[in-house]
Symmetry: C2
């Protein structure tokens, strides 16, 4: 089978989390939770999985008196996300005989 889609990112919640961080580099736990409308429990587990894969790092600070959890995407996370996008585009483009194609050739990795 086509095993090129990282199963860790083949998940609505984790794909969205990494996608958000891909754009913003780092975000607060609460920002992610609110933006994606995830429960805190779910987000907590998902970022732990992403951390375990070294796709993001978690920094615990304080914002005023409250604890604050910052998530930051790692170089490995960036590459994994770009690979996912590239592979998914490749897949969707293989149906361009009916669904208009993606012009993506090879991504520019920064």
């Amino acid at each position: 089978m086509n095993k090129n889609l990282d199963p860790l990112l083949l998940s609505q919640s984790r794909l969205s989390i990494i996608g958000l961080l891909y754009k913003s580099n780092e975000l607060e736990f609460v920002q992610i939770k609110d933006t994606l409308k995830l429960t805190a429990g779910n987000l907590s587990t998902q970022i732990q999985k992403l951390k375990k894969a070294d796709f993001l790092e978690i920094e615990k600070k304080f914002k005023g008196n409250y604890p604050q959890t910052i998530c930051r995407i790692t170089p490995k996370g960036i590459i994994a996300f770009e690979d996912f996008i590239t592979n998914m585009n490749q897949f969707t483009n293989s149906f361009s005989f009916i669904i208009p194609a993606n012009t993506d050739t090879k991504q520019n990795r920064l």
Copy 2:
């Protein structure tokens, strides 16, 4: 969260199965199994799930003396797959500031 990706298709195996059928309309169980290198057990369960969602229909015949299971994509399956592709393209294109964009506008549904 971005709840527009049908979780039934957000699976490597089921996405590939429906993708194959999207191209070929109907295929034998064994053809799908061999093409995607799935185990028979896994394929059996996955097509049952897809059937339950009315994304494909299963016809049981005989080919010579051996049983033959034909899988055929349904109109509902076609729409679901096209929607998945469209939504995934929309997602990936929202990262085109770095990853080249997909030109897909609105798909032509046949």
